[in-house]
């Protein structure tokens, strides 16, 4: 399996930083991009020691207690009111949160 081959030292280039920032939904300044490129590079380089370990057939950890019961009786109980749940939202209207437009209106779907 590929994971058992020590990977090549990760190259954190500007394109990788831009890609990860996009996945992270972080609009970084040019200064932040330069800083994180250098820092992530050195952090990941120091973590290469993990790649040298012989892990044999050790599986990935399964955290938590698998016996912990996650089911309860199907009985309705009180929960947050809509008012409480929305009380902290930056913008609401008629019981909904309001956000900027998701899809640009180009007029093609006009009624």
């Amino acid at each position: 399996m590929s994971e058992d081959r020590p990977p090549a030292p990760p190259m954190i280039d500007a394109a990788t930083v831009a890609h990860v920032a996009r996945l992270s939904r972080l609009e970084l300044t040019p200064d932040e991009r330069r800083l994180f490129q250098a820092q992530l590079g050195s952090i990941l380089e120091s973590f290469q020691q993990l790649a040298t370990l012989d892990l044999g057939d050790v599986p990935a950890a399964v955290p938590g207690d698998p016996a912990a019961g996650v089911m309860r009786d199907d009985v309705p109980v009180a929960s947050l009111s809509r008012e409480d749940a929305l009380a902290n939202a930056p913008e609401t209207a008629d019981g909904y949160v309001v956000v900027p437009p998701v899809i640009e209106d180009d007029g093609s779907r006009a009624p």
């Binding site: 590929s2 950890a61 437009p101």
Partner: protein, 501 residues
């Protein structure tokens, strides 16, 4: 406790307050007033609190003035406590040290808060912490650092630095923190107080603002072991609102403190006593181990060869979980929203850039990278396998010994600003604490001496759900060490004004 009664009620432990209430020697109002006076005196320097409601605390205290002395008073009746600001408190500002949560007032209490109130505790306020509990010095708080009560030029540790400093300086009798990679134990050691990370699943995480959900645990800070045991008993136990909380019986921890360790097998972890340890820390830890041996514990040298790999494994797993948990801060449901965005994705990205500090962004980036296509196997999956290896290694070691001991951190409290520019250097403060989070095991930091004028903590780790043995070992050490414990002496603002310039 054998020493004389401290002069101020602000320095008395909770178990002693209870006895005083019962004898009618003190009232909760007097205690809260004493603590508030202490806060007024030292807070300008320490800055442990992000939010303090003195009036509410006085009101709550007055409500307990008659009842706290009753035979059937709840266990923490009239005891002032502080809460780390990543614990949700209904209607009370909760920021987790982040600008992105400025103005947030949770619509519910964390389960631990509900339990504390039910136990009669008086909530003083919310304490400073590294942003979203990511850090080892409290310098990553968006609202400025907390200072170590023992030395104002040094960090209190982190991420629960405000809670540790508050308890150390007498600004609270007890406090709660959270520990994802050492965030209770390391500040406990740096501030000279007892700090316990319970077994994963021992304490409900409901209402704890999530950082890394498979590692986070809430736990107590106290000035002595008995108080830590008392507070743990009140917050522990199964909670239907947290599916990972365990249905394991909660013992009466204070009642189990015998201080007897004769025959206890004390595993001394070789990998935790390697080169690079501060000589003052090594000296105090060595002396503590010898003190436990003199009390009858049997020293067994233990090797955990993979323990040094815990740090990189942790700093992949925790950021990976954080990158997912922190996706919710996007300016939609709560907290900060940018005013400069044309579309939804732009609003998310700009809100997050404005709201998060550098370390949080760094960890989101690191975690996202480790989970992204092409790197998942090499980083995230591999780290989870190392985690399993470490979990097995610790479980195996704890078959032949009863507890594992070593230093909490390689150094005592370091100077403010020393490590903020170098994330890797900061991460090294966690090298001895992260293995327990990865393995899910309980560990306590108990004051064990000094490196110069700075406190040192001994870490005592135990089997899953065996906090009783961990606490009893700490209790035995507390009794074996020279009493009475030194307390920090914070120079107050008034004293500074009256001293010649």
């Amino acid at each position: 406790m054998t020493g004389p009664h401290p002069a101020s009620p602000a320095d008395r432990p909770a178990w002693d307050l209870r006895a005083c209430y019962r004898r009618g020697e003190l009232s909760p109002s007097e205690v809260v007033d004493g603590v508030l006076r202490r806060i007024e005196a030292v807070e300008p320097q320490v800055r442990a609190y992000l939010y303090l409601d003195a009036d509410a605390a006085r009101r709550e205290a007055a409500q307990w003035d008659r009842a706290a002395g009753a035979e059937d008073a709840p266990p923490l009746a009239g005891v002032p406590v502080a809460l780390k600001d990543n614990l949700c408190t209904r209607g009370v500002p909760t920021t987790a040290g982040s600008r992105v949560l400025a103005g947030f007032r949770p619509p519910y209490d964390a389960t631990v808060v509900t339990r504390l109130r039910r136990a009669g505790a008086i909530v003083l306020g919310k304490t400073n912490c590294d942003e979203f509990a990511m850090g080892s010095s409290t310098e990553n708080s968006a609202f400025g650092p907390t200072r170590n009560p023992w030395d104002p030029d040094r960090v209190p540790g982190g991420s629960s630095g405000g809670s540790a400093a508050a308890v150390a300086a007498g600004e609270a009798t007890l406090a709660l923190g959270s520990d994802t990679g050492g965030s209770i134990r390391e500040p406990g050691a740096f501030c000279g107080v007892v700090g316990l990370k319970p077994t994963y699943g021992r304490v409900s995480r409901y209402g704890l603002i999530a950082f890394a959900s498979s590692l986070d645990q809430i736990g107590p800070f106290a000035r002595d072991v008995r108080d830590a045991a008392l507070l743990l008993r009140e917050i522990a136990g199964r909670d239907p609102a947290d599916a990972t909380s365990a249905g394991v019986e909660v013992p009466d921890y204070p009642a189990l403190l015998t201080g007897r360790v004769a025959g206890l097998r004390l595993g001394v972890v070789r990998e935790f006593l390697q080169d690079g340890l501060d000589p003052g820390v090594a000296g105090a830890v060595g002396e503590a181990i010898r003190a436990l041996e003199r009390s009858g514990a049997r020293r067994v040298d233990v090797s955990l060869p993979h323990a040094p790999y815990a740090l990189p494994a942790y700093y992949i797993v925790a950021p990976a979980e954080a990158s997912s948990n922190l996706a919710r801060y996007a300016g939609v449901l709560y907290g900060h929203r940018t005013t400069r965005a044309a579309d939804l994705i732009g609003m998310y990205a700009r809100t997050r850039d404005e709201g998060f500090g550098a370390e949080v962004k760094r960890r989101i980036m690191l975690g996202t990278y480790a989970l992204s296509a092409g790197y998942y196997d090499a980083f995230y999956l591999r780290a989870q396998r190392v985690r399993e290896l470490i979990r097995r290694e610790f479980a195996q070691a704890l078959e032949s010994v009863d507890v594992l001991v070593g230093p909490v951190a390689p150094t005592p409290a370091f100077p403010l600003g020393e490590r903020v520019e170098d994330p890797l250097e900061m991460y090294l403060a966690d090298v001895f604490t992260v293995p327990l989070n990865l393995a899910g095991l309980p560990g306590v930091s108990v004051p064990c001496g000094f490196a110069g004028d700075l406190p040192v903590g001994l870490q005592i780790a135990g089997r899953a759900f065996d906090e009783a043995t961990v606490l009893n070992t700490a209790y035995a050490l507390e009794r074996a060490l020279p009493a009475p414990g030194r307390r920090p002496r914070v120079v107050t603002a008034a004293e500074r004004r009256s001293s010649p310039a």
